[in-house]
């Protein structure tokens, strides 16, 4: 295979492998923000989910129980954030940072005994069975969680547009006055949206520890949850765009190592910065000065 082909395969492989945590966290955050809250604590939910998932998988011997445990752990953290933010005069950004620190702290504390042991991993779907090239075979070993994430993106898009529940979430997120006039339970909707969103982030964490890179240690997330929160803005609060953005970030993250392997070694720090430079560029190109971001929920504390 020639070098361009190699890099392309690596980019596709990277998009499939690295994108899943971004996908889950950004979908979760998208749901939360659609209801009018910001949850920076999703980084904490990601790390806590990674630890809980790994621990549960190791203790029970089943990786899927691990995913479930991660879902519950992430949801619990989201519930906390949602409930506290429902109190009067609580700033959701500040609370989010507190939840993030709490989540990572709890995960590090209870995760100590699970750094050494090896837990059962999630199975992969070998979509590359038709190829003889080991590169393609390994690139197309895709985790089922990736497809579940895509499915969630489609369901969310459809639900926001076509269901009553989706409409309620959007109304609560866009105008609390309108929601009050309609008699909608604003706080309850937001708490539920935050809980589900954080549970999704927890599942994203279980992908990190149970699929790729597939082990638990304290440096596992290295800030991916925060990047995913930013991706939501980048994706204009559209779940399908979140999926696309996650794939793009995954591919861009694979660019640095794969270019180094084919011998393009100068300036690798620049390639590592590629995802961030890309985000910045698209932001600059698409945001006109002085206007509210298109698609942004009106109730977000950023706009008020």
């Amino acid at each position: 295979m020639d070098n361009v082909g190699m890099v392309l395969v690596a980019l596709i492989a990277g998009a499939l492998r690295v994108s899943t945590p971004f996908l889950f966290v950004s979908l979760g955050e998208c749901l939360t923000e659609k209801s009018g809250r910001i949850n920076l604590g999703n980084e904490g939910a990601l790390v806590l989910g990674a630890m809980t998932g790994y621990a549960a998988s190791y203790e029970t011997g089943s990786a899927w129980i691990g995913v479930l445990a991660a879902l519950v752990a992430g949801g619990g953290l989201g519930l906390l954030h949602g409930l506290v933010c429902s109190l009067a005069r609580v700033n959701d950004v500040a609370m989010g940072i507190a939840v993030m620190l709490a989540g990572t702290g709890i995960a590090f504390f209870f995760g100590k005994p699970y750094i050494q042991p090896s837990a059962p991993q999630l199975p992969v779907i070998p979509l590359g069975f038709w190829s003889d090239a080991p590169q393609i075979r390994s690139a197309l070993d895709v985790s089922p969680l990736f497809f579940i994430g895509l499915l969630v993106a489609f369901v969310m898009t459809w639900a926001f547009k076509n269901t009553r529940t989706g409409l309620v979430v959007r109304i609560v997120g866009d105008s609390s006055d309108a929601a009050k006039a309609m008699g909608l339970p604003i706080d309850r909707v937001r708490v539920i949206a935050t809980t589900i969103g954080s549970a999704l982030a927890g599942v994203g964490g279980s992908f990190l520890s149970l699929s790729y890179p597939g082990s638990w240690n304290e440096g596992l997330s290295s800030g991916q949850g925060l990047v995913a929160v930013a991706l939501v803005v980048f994706a204009r609060w559209n779940p399908l765009a979140c999926a696309a953005a996650a794939l793009l970030f995954g591919a861009a993250g694979a660019l640095g190592p794969s270019l180094q392997t084919v011998g393009i070694t100068q300036g690798y720090y620049l390639f590592y910065a590629a995802p961030y430079a890309l985000t910045l560029l698209i932001m600059i190109l698409t945001v006109a000065p002085g206007r509210v971001l298109r698609g942004m929920p009106g109730e977000l504390s950023l706009t008020r």
Binding site: R17, V18, Q116, S138, P213, N217, A254, P257, T265, Y272
Partner: protein
Amino acid sequence: MRDQHLVSRRTLLQGMAAGTAVATTGLGTSRPAFAKDLVVGFIYVGPKDDYGYNQAHAEGATIIKKIPGVTVLEEEKVPETLDVQKTMESMIELDGASLIFPTSFGYFDPHMLKVAAKYPDVQFRHCGGLWTEGKHPKNTGSYFGYIGRAQYLSGIVAAHTSKTKKLGFIAAKPIPQVLINVNSFALGAKSVDPTITTQVIFTGDWSLPVKEAEATNSLADQGVDVITCHVDGPKVIMETAERRGIFCTGYHADQSKLAPKGYLTGAEWNWSKVYEAFVTEAQAGKPLPNFVRGGLSDGFVKTSAYGPAVSEEARKQADSVKAEMIKSPDYAVFKGPLKSNIGKEVIPAGKSYPETAIELESTDYLVEGIIGAIG
């Protein structure tokens, strides 16, 4: 009525001051410099079971625990900030530690130096090569090991095992200590087969699991079939290599459990040797050396036991080179004429640098046969 039961504020303060004075003097006298029962403190920057840098030190501490009359204190995940000063002070004040090993590079300046100035009776030895005679306090010091030769041996075994003749090295940052390891590994491999190449990937930081896994995968995609590394926790790299069905050689500690099929050998620290020496001297009441360095022949460094995939031929060659290294302290891995991978002559003909050579500490090149760039 109530006032009778209350101690006046002045009496209370006086009492407290007296109490503190008694307590401090009490502590001062009950802390003999180097008596038989010695309290030794170890401070780690990460978790002590990380299969890497910190585990290597913690394994050394475990050996010390077995020495009679020694109490070992350990604290992990101490950041290289004011926190480490607090940890050292609490080890000294509350637990009576008289010998402290802050094991991470960033603990030295200013943290260890500050605490050392405050407690001149307590001995501090820091892992790294930063201590300078005359510049730093007498109760501080440095210990460090040369691990390049062990990497050279790993390179020999890797070259024998590789079928594609392509090796991979995942490194954190292009600093001299890392580059010496990369170069040693590549030179070891080239001593077996001069055509063999070593592909180096820099991840940019000491612990980035996702990037390390990506690097392992892209090396495997490119046909590399033996991978080694210089990062803080090699766990993810070893596991990913094993999953891809390729071979790996370890670093820092023994990682054979993580890759039972593919683990060949590894370059490990043997800090217990260093710690034992310090502790026995301290127990005997002798002054501790300030600057300790050593390599394979001094037992500061060791190699992992060979894995099942290592051929008889590879074992033989690696063992004979190892025996030679242990016999002669001047054994040089870096011999002229040696060119860098951009064609510059880095060591002229007739010159050779043993591991202790000062010239190696400013290594800023990758030797011929390595694919990669440091900039």
